[in-house]
Amino acid sequence: MTEANIRSSAVSESFIDHFPQGWLSLDDRDGYQGYIIEKDHLLEFARRLRDEHGYDYLSSITGVDYFPEDRMEVVYHVYKSTGGSGIEFKVVTGRDNPEVTSLVSLYDGANFQEREIWDLLGIWFEDHPDPRRILTWEGFAGHPLRKDWTEPYFEEDFKPFDSRWPEGRPERSEATNPFGDNVQFKDPFDPETWVYEGDDQVYEALRNEYSTKDEDLDVEQFIVNMGPQHPSTHGVFRMVVLLDGETIVGLKPVFGYLHRNHEKIGERNTFLQNMPFTDRLDYITSLSNNLGYALAVEKLTEVHPPERAEYIRVIMAELTRIINHLVAIGFLLNDLGAFFTPNLYGLEERELILDIFEAVTGSRMMCNYLRFGGVAHDVSSDHLKQINALVSERLPRKLEDFDKYLTGNEILRSRCEGVGVLTPEDALRLSVTGPLLRASGVPYDIRRADPYSIYDRFEFDVAWNVHGDTYDRFLVRLEEIRQSIRIIKQALRDIPDGPIQTGKVQHQARVPAGESYGRIESPKGELGYYIVSNKKPNPLRYHVRAPSLINLSALEIMCRNQKIADAVVILGSIDITLGEVDR
């Protein structure tokens, strides 16, 4: 055991004493942290952890398949909403018909994540209120993240593929692996005679949960599908709403139309090859995605980037935040019916920032800029001047314009104020993060609560507000842009000269065995990467805790008893990117 391991276990031994004997034990595998909980006591343990120890915010749940061992794990990360580091615990089960107690009764935020684990790994959650598949469709056979499952165009388990060199003649995968021969269907399933009935499940779930019958009055509630075309320019997303007149009684979001099994691709890739794929999660904020992933891997390799690289990372991540919030505000206004004028004001500023990204990283959106232990290219002093000109003159001026233009606008206020209210209790229970959580009166910002990189050096305020409505979310985002500008100014002032990379970047990163959870405050919320390495060039498990996906669990509660026209606005105020939701 390493020294750090021994130290943490000394602390944790006493933690174990808080619980009855036999409930939990230390996870003492090399490179692993946290505790292993006895399956039968999971619910009670989690309840005590939340109620007695204050871990009220469930950050992430994911599963790991240790094939060929007969072992699967469900991994939980919980934190305190008051800040500080968290606790990780695991439940172990076999691979045949694995079953774990659901934690939805304690944390509603577990709902989507447990459905995702059932969908992708095939671990069943007992007492889950809505145990349907979430990302793949109803006729899907198997659970794609299991290690023995192969995809239609399967070539090899790990990249690089042998067919590329030294005898590499290109063949289209469609030609060698024709569609139809390699697709498995659920038994009994025949694509020729099949009648689609998947939606019945959604409708049934919706009716079961919300439908109310009025004894005296014969009222019919009806179901309306909003989507799956772009209901409000956010991507392919569908809301199934149960309506009573124009009032929303219940709502189920349906997504997965853009699902490409990012995590499976990630497990086929080498660690470095994954970097450009993270760009494509939330394609508005590629540099933040890079940062989260780099931090998670750097935790394992224990590489620390040089000072200059840290500053560059912060500057880039904050520019990304500015971009994201400009886009989020712009599209929120689009959803409100202010078609494209405010949006284009936001996009104008974004364009100027993207010019800088293009010059520094080589690409406007798919930046692929961070490397483990540094960044790919240095930022020249000209570019720093350009950034400085933006943040010290143009952006503040433009924000003032935004303020004048929007904040006082009567139409915006009447459409946003009091719409889609989310109480702080609900927000925490639903594991909501980012501007959505902070607008609900919980000033939880990972940059402050559990600082990463060099954020502890900067002076900034955590933007938050108390009403929890759409208008507050808009204000919080505006304020966050101002705070980002503040951080960038400080970073530009302090950025030292020096190297931008520790050592030479290896294309085969050597990553020691173990697990790590790297989380950052991405513009949309908490972006977490859970990585398990078994010393091979490819990660054994690569999981993305997507803020967009988990923030969507609040959509239902925010839309209830609102008018249907407001559902679009509320969705806009969550600020989702389907590339990240569907993964």
Binding site: W165, P166, G168, G362, R394, R413
Partner: protein, 204 residues
């Protein structure tokens, strides 16, 4: 006062609208279709609408800009192409979507591999423009091109590019990325000098 916010907002829009015309009048014909005009519209103090009128105008791309890979070759007096690529395969190994295929040349007599590619393919449908091949190539042989107008009518015929199609003379590369090219050439010359010095030492 109700309506104040709306009026203020309209004011912002109106100013933005007028700014465009004022800029046009102030800058005159220079504003459009000139390099200066494009640069001015991309600077931080640009006002009004600053759309680049593609395809009549094009944004100049920065040196680091990357699109799809090309292979560099040197031309000797007879016009014979000598590719820098040694078929080491690093690019095809590091490529995240695995879009590079290489056939290594083999000496037919000895059966030993020779340091140049017999065939080289890039499938630009799969390429994700990440630039890893360029970054990790130890011979400065594979580079990312600046040409982004690659659309054509038949993806089955035209989107897998072979050695011939990928090849570009060094002068082309020096033209699109002059700064980076100069740096790389300096590094190459230094490496060569070091190698020569080492060899000399060994000879002695």
């Amino acid at each position: 006062m109700i309506g104040k916010g709306i009026l203020q907002g309209l004011g912002v829009t109106f100013r933005h609208f007028m700014d465009t015309y004022l800029e046009d009048i102030r800058a005159g014909k220079k504003r459009y279709r000139t390099a200066d005009g494009i640069a001015a519209r991309r600077s931080a103090d640009t006002r009004g609408i600053f759309t680049i009128q593609y395809p009549e105008e094009k944004m100049p791309v920065p040196e680091l800009f990357r699109y799809v890979p090309i292979l560099l070759y040197e031309e000797d007096e007879n016009g014979e192409k000598e590719y820098r690529c040694t078929a080491c395969g690093i690019c095809s190994k590091v490529c995240p979507p695995q879009c590079i295929w290489i056939v290594r040349t083999v000496n037919p007599e000895t059966g030993r591999p020779l340091p140049n590619p017999e065939e080289f393919y890039v499938d630009i449908d799969i390429c994700m423009n990440c630039g890893f091949c360029e970054e990790f190539c130890p011979f400065d042989a594979i580079k990312m091109d600046h040409d982004y107008e690659l659309s054509n009518y038949n993806r089955f015929e035209n989107h897998i590019i072979d050695l011939e199609g990928l090849g570009r003379p060094i002068s082309y590369y020096a033209g699109i990325k002059p700064g980076i090219f100069a740096e790389e050439e300096a590094a190459r010359a230094q490496k060569k000098a070091e190698k020569a010095a080492k060899a000399e030492k060994k000879d002695k």
